[in-house]
């Protein structure tokens, strides 16, 4: 299976959201990483067929996905950034409704609903109204609905928003176990969501992919550029202004800092192993 994005662009009036994006995705997990407003959601909406590209097209195995229509959507599982539900629906009603529009055979839909609600730990809440759910529970329900049709292409937009750390880890393991024969796209600005499970990370900025590769390869971009140092408290305000700070920890008279810098930020700083978060800050630090 080959999902190709061919010179995709989207312009909303005079604002370019996505500009000339091309890539080819095969089975595996892909992380679309970028700050808020980088164009990730628009790109995902174009892949899903929700938004019409101003230019370019999305092809699955050489066929235009919009022309494929139902055949393409039958392969698709999607969790939008803002996931809604009809008021009055219980979790089970919601899952059965989504199963219906996904065309699942009713007996199988009921079985699959039970399985997935169990998988996302909502089986005890199956008959409770969705409007009474917490943000994390709604997100888990959203993940469950995306999996209903056992999609070959799974697209998750900010899937871990509202999940607690334990749920995040559970979600990552769940997704990791599903990647063998499907294309999974996770769009996020949370580095840890994709750092360890993605086969490829595509970093987006101002509507373009600026970096593309496996996490280890991308991290090499900042090799030799990450430092740890202790800065006296009185020098800290000036230092903080000048440097790209990843972490800062106040000790007695000093601030221990992790810094991304192409040159040694100050005397006594020691070079450390870079992470994807360091890379992210290197590229998006100016947008904070």
């Amino acid at each position: 299976m080959k999902l190709a994005l061919e010179r995709l662009s989207k312009q909303f009036k005079n604002k370019i959201a996505v500009e000339d994006v091309s890539t080819v995705l095969t089975e595996g997990i892909y992380g679309f990483l970028g700050a808020n407003g980088a164009g990730k959601t628009t790109l995902i909406q174009m892949i899903c067929g929700i938004v019409e590209p101003t230019a370019g097209e999305v092809k699955l195995d050489g066929k235009n996905t919009i022309s494929m229509g139902e055949d393409f959507r039958d392969l698709l599982g999607y969790l939008p950034q803002e996931f809604g539900y009809t008021p009055g629906f219980t979790a089970k009603d919601f899952m059965l409704y989504i199963s219906s529009i996904k065309g699942l055979e009713p007996r199988f839909a009921r079985k699959r609903t039970e399985e997935l609600l169990r998988l996302v730990n909502l089986e005890d809440e199956a008959n409770h109204k969705v409007r009474t759910f917490s943000g994390g529970m709604k997100r888990r329900l959203g993940i469950a609905q995306a999996l209903l049709n056992d999609p070959r292409i799974l697209i998750l937009d900010e899937p871990t928003a509202g999940l607690d750390p334990k749920e995040r880890v559970y979600f990552r393991n769940l997704i990791s176990g599903m990647s063998r024969d499907r294309i999974i796209i996770i769009s996020t600005h949370i580095v840890s969501d994709i750092e360890y499970i993605s086969d490829r990370i595509l970093v987006m900025k101002k509507g373009r992919f600026i970096l593309d590769g496996p996490a280890e390869e991308l991290v090499r971009e900042v090799d030799g550029g990450v430092w740890e140092c202790a800065v006296p408290r009185k020098e800290w305000p000036e230092f903080e202004q000048e440097q790209c700070i990843v972490n800062a920890h106040n000790r007695d008279h000093v601030v221990e800092a992790r810094v991304v810098s192409r040159k040694m930020p100050r005397e006594g700083a020691r070079m450390v192993e870079p992470t994807l978060e360091d890379l992210y800050l290197e590229y998006f630090g100016d947008e904070l």
């Binding site: 067929g49 929700i50 229509g69 959507r73 809604g84 219906s100 529009i101 065309g103």
Partner: protein
């Protein structure tokens, strides 16, 4: 006799030769049907039937209650052109359509639209399904009510139908126009407001002594009926085009 026929039939059947590959293929296909129900999908007819389950009890309840009240009014009230029973007939359209607006607004709920646009059965199909159900139910209710009115009070059927259908069309036109403007969670509120405005307009006309139901006003009713029917058709086409469908549904989206 039967046996001879059967023998002739059996003799005519060409049994293909044994093919190990064919046997494997048959077993594999049977296995797929048996063990992989996830690969089975509903036909369009099954989808339509399945969708009926998601039209809530409130919808049918509202229709049922309305029909009961209306029949009671018809059988108990006076049917003179200046009587309130005619006014009740006229406001029945907006009231009947209120439940329809609710089931249509449900699928345009914030965040729900995107899910529906990426599902196998397009939003257009879901819309058509709901419009058909509500349209057929309303047609039956209005036709029955108008017939009962005619039989009980001896008024021309066409006249009664006109008084019921024109406000119904106006309500339909307004609500579809609201849906097309995607006001999301406020859609139902705007539809209800439109319905209440129409209802009040009819009641106020009656209170102000405007003889709306006299035969000389039939031309006006027909004029508004024509305009509202054309408007409703136009808005319905727009909704089906931009609200869902394989090609057209892609024109809606949120930014970044």
């Amino acid at each position: 006799m039967k046996n001879r026929k059967l023998k002739r039939y059996l003799a005519s059947v060409q049994v293909p030769g044994y093919s190990p590959q064919g046997l494997q293929e048959t077993i594999a296909r049977a296995g797929e049907i048996q063990f992989f129900p996830e690969k089975q999908r509903m036909t369009n007819l099954q989808f339509f039937r399945n969708q009926l389950r998601f039209i809530g009890k409130e919808f049918w309840g509202m229709k049922f209650i309305f029909t009961g009240i209306f029949l009671y009014l018809i059988l108990s009230g006076s049917a003179e052109p200046d009587s309130w029973i005619m006014t009740a007939a006229a406001i029945s359209g907006p009231i009947v359509f209120m439940a329809d607006a609710n089931i249509l607004c449900d699928i345009f709920w914030r965040g729900m639209l995107e899910l529906q646009m990426t599902a196998k059965h397009s939003l257009r199909k879901v819309l058509i399904c709901r419009m058909l159900v509500s349209g057929i139910a309303d047609f039956l209710i209005l036709a029955c009510a108008a017939s009962a009115f005619t039989l009980a009070k001896g008024i021309y059927l066409r006249q009664t139908l006109l008084y019921m259908v024109v406000p119904y069309n106006l309500m339909c036109f307004g609500c579809l126009a609201v849906l097309n403007r995607r006001i999301e969670e406020n859609t139902m509120l705007y539809c209800m407001t439109w319905g209440i405005l129409l209802t009040f307009a009819i009641i106020l006309s009656k209170s102000a002594g405007i003889p709306l139901f006299e035969v000389r006003y039939t031309g006006n009713w027909l004029f508004f009926g024509g305009i509202s029917a054309l408007g409703a058709i136009w808005e319905m086409k727009r909704l089906l085009k931009f609200g869902g469908g394989n090609v057209d549904e892609v024109s809606v989206g949120t930014f970044v």
